[in-house]
Amino acid sequence: MNRLIRWKGLAAFAAFCLALWLFWWLLAGWLVKISLEKAATAAVGAQVDIAAADLSLFPMALELKGIQVTDPQKPAFNLVAADTIGMAIAPRPLLRRKLIIEKMNVAGLRMGTRRSRPGKVVKKEKKPQPAAGKNGSAATGKPAAPPGDLCLPTDLPALSLPDAASIVEREKLASLEEAKKLEADLEEARRYWEDRLKQLPDQKKLENYRRQFEAIRKNSGSVTGIIGSAGKIKQLAASIRRDIATLEKARDDFRSQAAEFQKRAADLSKAPARDLERLKKKYTLSGQGLSNLSRLIFGRSLCRWYQTAAAWYFKIEPYLNRPAAKREKPVRHKPVRGRGLDIRFAETSPLPDFWLQQAKIGLILTAGKIRGSLTDVSDAPALIGRPTVLRLLGRNLEGLDSLSVVGRLDFTRPRDPRHRLDAQIAGFRIKGLTIEALDRLPVNIESGLADLVLDIEAAKGRLEARLKGKLAQLKLAADTGKVSGLAEEIGRVLEKVHDFGFRAEIVQQGPEVSTRISSDLDRILKKAVAASLAGKAARLEKELRAAISEKVGPALAEARKKTAVLGPLEKEITRRLNMGNDLLKGLKLPF
C-alpha cells in the first residue's frame, strides 16, 4: 500500500487548500472589488469606483463601501453614489453560478453628487440588438422617441408689432406676383395673336376673291360662259366659306382667352386684400392663437422630463427583459473565440442568473432622507413571475410635506410588458426654480407651493403619461430683458399670477405622439393679452393696407392697361370676318 500511496501528499494537499483559503481570506475582497468595478464600468459606460469590498463565507455576504458611479453625460458628477451596500447571498445557487441576493441594504444613496476627480467614460462596444420594431425595442413597443413637437423651440409673434412698410418690403406679395404674371401672359398673348393674324385670311386675300369674282362675271356673256362661271363661283364661294370658318374659329379662341384675362384682371383687384389678410394673421395673434399658451410655456420642460425618463427606461430595459429559456431544447449561447460554447439545458428548479429579491433603500436628497424598497430585480422576470416594484416614501422633509413613488416594471410576459408609475408630491415649497418657458424668457418661481400627481402607464405598445399640478402662493419673476412683444407681455402677466393649476398628458402609440397641456394660465393670459393686442392689430391692418397698395398699385395698373392691348386685335379679326361675309353675300351673277 505504501508503495502506492504517499501519505505525506495528503498533508501537502491540505497545505495547498489552506493556502487557497488564506489567499481567499486575504485577497477575495480585493478581487471582488476589482471584478465588480470592471463589470459595472463596462455596463454603465463610465468609471465605477468601490472603496472597499468585504466578502464573508459564513454566512455568505458581501459589503461594498463607497460606491460611486460616474455619470457618462457629466463625468465630473456621479450618477449615483452610496455609502454602503450590504447583501446576503444565497450560497447554493452561487455554486451553480447564479447570483441570488436574498436581502440588500443600500444606505446613503445619493444622486448627482460631485466627484473629487472626473470619472473616465468608456466607449461601449455596440452589440447587435435583437430584432426591434421600428418604433421601439423588441418586445415592448414602448416609447421610441420623445414627443418632438414639444421639444421644438417656441416662438411667439411679437406684440409690439413690426413696421408695416418693413413687413411689406420683406414679404413676398402674391398680388404683386399675380400682376406681373398677368402682364407677362398678356404680352405673350399679344405676340401670339399678332403672329396668328398674319396666318389668317387678310384683306389682300379677300380683295383677291372679289377680283376673281369680277373677272368671272365679265366672262359670263354667252350661255356656255354662264355655265362655266357658275362652277367657278361655286368654287370661289367654298374658298371664302373656309376662310370665314377659320376666322370664326380664331375669333372664338380669342374671345375665350380674352375672357380668361378679364377674369384674372378682375381677380387681381381682390389679391391685395388676400395679402393683407395673410400678413395680418402672421404678424398679429388671433384669440385662437392665444388659447394654448401653457403648452408653449411648459412644453419644453415637459419634453426634457420625458426625454430623461425615456433614456433611463432604455438603459434599464435590456437588463430586465431577458426571456426565459425554453425547456424543450438545450440553448446554445454565442461562443467567445477560444472559450467554447455554453450549452444550457432545462433546469428542474429554474432560477435566473441574477435575482435581487429584496432591497431596502435609504435615499438622501437635499430635502432629507427617503426610505424605500426595491423587490424582484432580475434578468429573467418571466422565470420568477414577479414584476420589479420600487417604493419610495418620504414625509416631513425639508420643503416638502410628503413624497410617494410606486413604480412597477412588469416584464413577466416579455411579449406584453406592462409598466406603471404613480408619484405624488404634496406641499412642495418651491424656491428659486426656473422654468425655461418661451425662448429667451426664463420664468423664475421665487416662491410657491406645489402639489403634483404623476401617473405613467405603458402597455401593449401604448404609453400614457399624465401630470396634474396645483401651484399656490406663487411669486413669479419673468426675465423679460431679452424678449419683446407678446413674450414680454406674457412675462408681465405671469408676474401677477399667484396660483394656477395645470394638466399635461402625453399619449404615444407607436410613432404617433399626442400631447395635451391645459392650464388656468391659458384663460388668464388670453384675457390679459388679447385686449392689448386688439388695438395694435387694427393699426397694423390699416398701415399694411396702405403699404400693400403703394407697392402693388403700379403693377396692378400696368396689368390692367395691358388688357387693353388685346382690343385692336379682336377688332381686326372681326373686320376681316365682316369682309368675308360681305363678299359671300355679293357672290351673285346678273341673271
Binding site: R6, G9, L95, R96, R97, P330, G340, D342, I343
Partner: protein, 173 residues
C-alpha cells in the same frame, strides 16, 4: 527547456517505477488540457500528491500539455459540442446540468467538456504507451548512451560530480 530535458532524462535513468512516470504524464495531461480553474483539477492535484507518482515528471509534463491544449482547443470544442448536443444524451446531460458539481465545473461548456473527455479517453492508452516507452528506453537506449565516449567523459568530469550532488538535494519521487 534544457533543464526540463535534463530532468526527464534524470527520471528516466533513475530507478523510479515506470508506472509512476506514466501516471504523472497522464495526470499532467488531464490538468493541462482542462482550464486551470476547473474545480475537477483539485481532484487531479489530490491524486498527484497522494499517489506516489513522479512529481518531477508531472511538473515538466503539465506545462507541455497546457501548451498543447491551446493548439487542440478547436478539437476540444468539437468533441464537447458533439457530446453535449448528442440527441441520445439529452436526458443524461439535463440530469447532470441540474447537479451543483456539473454547473460549478462548467462541464456544460464545450471546451471544458471536450478537453476532459479527450483527456479521459486518452488516459489509459497514454499510460500504457508511456510505460512501454520507459521500459524500452531503459533496456535499449540508456545503456547505449552511457557507453558513448562523450557521456563517459562528462561523467568523469568534476563538474558532473558537483551537478550530481546538487541535483540529488532535490530528491526524486
Amino acid at each position: 527547456m534544457l533543464e526540463a530535458l535534463a530532468k526527464i532524462i534524470k527520471v528516466l535513468n533513475s530507478e523510479t517505477d515506470p508506472w509512476q512516470i506514466s501516471l504523472a504524464v497522464c495526470l499532467a495531461m488531464v490538468i493541462g488540457f482542462s482550464p486551470l480553474a476547473s474545480p475537477h483539477n483539485l481532484l487531479v492535484l489530490l491524486a498527484v500528491l497522494v499517489l506516489r507518482v513522479n512529481l518531477s515528471t508531472f511538473l515538466v509534463a503539465w506545462p507541455l500539455f497546457s501548451a498543447l491544449a491551446f493548439a487542440l482547443d478547436p478539437l476540444f470544442h468539437r468533441v464537447g459540442l458533439a457530446l453535449l448536443t448528442a440527441g441520445g444524451l439529452l436526458d443524461f446531460w439535463t440530469a447532470l446540468y441540474n447537479t451543483t458539481w456539473f454547473r460549478l465545473d462548467r462541464l456544460y461548456n464545450t471546451v471544458v467538456m471536450g478537453s476532459l473527455a479527450v483527456a479521459l479517453a486518452a488516459f489509459m492508452p497514454l499510460f500504457l504507451l508511456t510505460n512501454w516507452l520507459v521500459r524500452r528506453y531503459r533496456v535499449h537506449i540508456r545503456d547505449w548512451i552511457a557507453k558513448l565516449p562523450l557521456a563517459q567523459t562528462i561523467k568523469a568530469s568534476k563538474i558532473f560530480a558537483v551537478y550530481k550532488n546538487i541535483s540529488n538535494l532535490g530528491g526524486t519521487a
